[in-house]
């Protein structure tokens, strides 16, 4: 914390010598050993540590994989399989990297929802939140670039779809598109630059992570009460050993889940089509991104209408990028003075709905937009016909037998007739994703700004210390 004085005392001659030249041990000591941390952080707060482990795992396994990978469209697929088959423990390292991407996103989503719930983006932590958003953007870019490298069907056609999105941007879209592809199509040159950038971005993430931690250590941690630390003695404990051991425990539990995927179901989070080598002439039946990008994909596809001069494609792209951009505005959109939603009974409920909305958006992203979720009535049969006299018409049937009879009658009398299916009106994924998208934006742009002005917070403690004592006292109102 800014007001916190360094307690590091170099003891040996060497550390004294070093401390007056490069106080790196002092920095580490003040940041990760003696750093005063609120006593009341729960397990949701362990995901920061989990994420740094995820980043380290991805970088280490990634550097190793790059030793064996070949960024060439004729060899990429085979070189990945060579890692799985011939490189000693290559299967393990590749599985870790592949599952690790999913685990990284799983952890980052928990981390983000935690920040949202406890108001960790509010003053004085706006920059901390913004840097987190930058990391998240970089993560998405890295994941997208990396997904292309095995050069499977999803790699190629997924990249194609995403690059085409940029083409929807007015004026500069086409330039960006050809600049990303480096040619008329997604080809060898694209693969090579994607590999280069996929190698670069994680180190940029690591850099922003350092800034993120710096921005965390200036105001200090937020905590589940959202009340700032007032008395360092009563409200905080030193980071080490209290939180190193707690984070360590959480990290190992997280690694157990990680290992279950790596050893028992390494491919379950991916898509089978990516084990088919890329073929530009054949598009897979369903192009879907990896699960962690599905909500944004659903938002993209939810916009199926034009508004004024803007067509649906452009609006979809705007909505998709807007859904991320709105996160950057969040610190100024939420007007509530109270940080933690623990003490905001109404906001808490809207938040819970928001979490479910995000999960449902993921479900929509994975599904065909035209598929029915709830069908109203049965599908019917329509016979389109042109009778012998040349008159066109249609007739609708419930049952097949009369429909076929009618068709045959028309045909024998010299007309033309065919049967088609008329889908029953239904509540489709498209409609659901439109509703969910509306809620997603309303949550940030309407609910949080106005609720903060009107809501009456309940039971906010005066200090962390008081909340801990109240926590044990039987008379106190339950906080959660």
């Amino acid at each position: 914390m800014s007001g916190h004085e360094s307690t590091y005392k170099p003891e040996t001659g060497f550390t004294k010598w070093l401390d007056s030249r490069l106080p790196i041990i002092r920095l580490a000591h003040d940041s990760f050993v003696d750093f005063p941390t609120p006593k009341n952080l729960n397990y949701w707060y362990t995901f920061g540590g989990i994420l740094s482990v995820c980043l380290a795992i991805q970088i280490i396994t990634g550097v190793v994989l790059a030793m064996h990978y070949t960024a060439d469209i004729n060899q990429a697929f085979g070189s990945v399989e060579r890692i799985m088959r011939d490189v000693p423990f290559g299967w393990l390292i590749r599985n870790i990297h592949m599952v690790g991407a999913s685990m990284f996103f799983l952890a980052v989503y928990v981390h983000m929802f935690r920040g949202l719930y406890y108001g960790s983006y509010k003053a004085p932590r706006e920059v901390l939140w913004l840097l987190g958003c930058v990391i998240y953007l970089l993560m998405m870019a890295t994941a997208f670039l990396g997904y292309m490298l095995p050069w499977g069907q999803m790699s190629l056609h997924g990249a194609n779809v995403i690059i085409n999105l940029f083409g929807a941007i007015p004026l500069v879209g086409e330039s960006i598109q050809s600049w990303l592809m480096g040619g008329p199509s997604v080809g060898n040159q694209t693969l090579q630059r994607f590999f280069s950038l996929h190698y670069l971005l994680p180190f940029m993430i690591a850099g922003v992570v350092i800034l993120h931690i710096w921005a965390l250590h200036v105001p200090g941690n937020n905590n589940p009460t959202g009340v700032e630390v007032q008395d360092v003695k009563k409200d905080t404990v030193p980071f080490h050993p209290y939180y190193t051991v707690k984070d360590g425990f959480a990290i190992v539990v997280f690694l157990i889940i990680f290992a279950v995927f790596v050893f028992y179901a390494p491919n379950v989070l991916g898509h089978a089509d990516n084990y088919v080598e890329a073929n530009p002439l054949v598009t897979p039946a369903h192009i879907v991104p990896e699960w962690y990008l599905l909500p944004f994909y659903a938002i993209l596809r939810a916009i199926t209408f034009n508004i004024g001069p803007m067509d649906a494609k452009l609006l979809g792209v705007i909505a998709m990028f807007g859904s991320i951009a709105v996160l950057f505005l969040l610190p100024w959109l939420d007007t509530s003075k109270v940080k933690s939603m623990r003490y905001r009974p109404v906001a808490k409920q809207f938040f819970m709905v928001f979490v479910v909305v995000c999960l449902l958006l993921g479900w929509c992203g994975a599904s065909n937009p035209d598929n029915a979720i709830i069908s109203m009535g049965e599908d019917k049969l329509v016979v389109n016909y042109t009778d012998a006299a040349g008159l066109e018409g249609t007739r609708v049937f419930e049952e097949y037998t009369p429909a076929a009879q009618f068709r045959d009658e028309q045909q024998t009398s010299g007309g033309v007739a065919s049967i088609a299916i008329e889908k029953a009106p239904a509540f489709t994924f498209k409609i659901l994703s439109q509703i969910l998208t509306a809620y997603y934006f309303a949550f940030f742009l309407i609910i949080l700004p106005f609720l903060g002005l009107r809501e009456r917070p309940k039971g906010e403690p005066d200090s962390i210390h008081q909340s801990i004592l109240g926590h044990d006292a039987p008379a106190a109102a339950p906080a959660e």
């Binding site: 088959r85 011939d86 000693p88 051991v245």
Partner: protein, 189 residues
């Protein structure tokens, strides 16, 4: 008595706490060590690389007095069909005075029936000085001793591939090879 009763559990507690922390730290360190193993092992030769590390060569096509050069796993090897004069020169020189004493027969592998075919000499193609590839009969330069000459730093090898003059410290190594048939040599790395 009462004082010791109060302090004793604390003391035991302290020891137990230490034990658990030490066990946790040791288990973490041990695990980290085990995890390091696959990350180091992956640098070893991969299955396909190892599989490509042997080669069968048909020696019947080597012209008398000439040699063929093959690459196994990217490393050069010489197979030389020596003339009777070259064999005689290799056999009749006293090896004990050479920088790296070895008789000519020590540098040959027996045929399946246990005899030797001194006409065919198989050696590594990398100079033992700093790994350059020496020139031979095909390049028109065989050095002062009729074998090979390394142009990088001037090492001269004789017709048995032994170092005779120059900075190289050792004879051209004889690879691990076997005679599959009297006309087929299998060289392994």
């Amino acid at each position: 008595m009462s004082a010791s009763n109060e302090t004793a559990p604390d003391h035991v507690d302290e020891e137990r706490r230490d034990f658990i922390h030490i066990a946790a730290i040791a288990a973490t360190a041990g695990g980290a060590g085990l995890v390091a193993y696959p990350f180091i092992d992956q640098m070893n030769a991969a299955g396909d690389t190892k599989a490509a590390s042997s080669l069968e060569v048909d020696i019947s096509k080597i012209p008398l007095g000439g040699e063929i050069r093959v690459l196994i796993g990217g490393k050069p090897f010489f197979l030389r069909h020596r003339t009777p004069e070259e064999i005689a020169a290799a056999v009749n020189t006293d090896a004990s005075k050479m920088p790296d004493p070895e008789t000519d027969e020590e540098r040959l592998m027996p045929l399946p029936d246990g005899t030797f075919n001194p006409a065919i000499l198989v050696t590594s193609g990398a100079c033992t000085h700093l790994g350059c590839v020496p020139v031979g009969p095909a390049q028109g330069s065989v050095g002062d001793y009729g074998g090979w000459y390394c142009p990088c730093h001037g090492s001269h090898y004789d017709t048995s591939g032994r170092i005779r003059k120059g900075p190289a410290p050792k004879n051209l190594p004889v690879p691990d090879y076997e005679w599959v048939t009297p006309a087929l040599v299998k060289i392994s790395l």
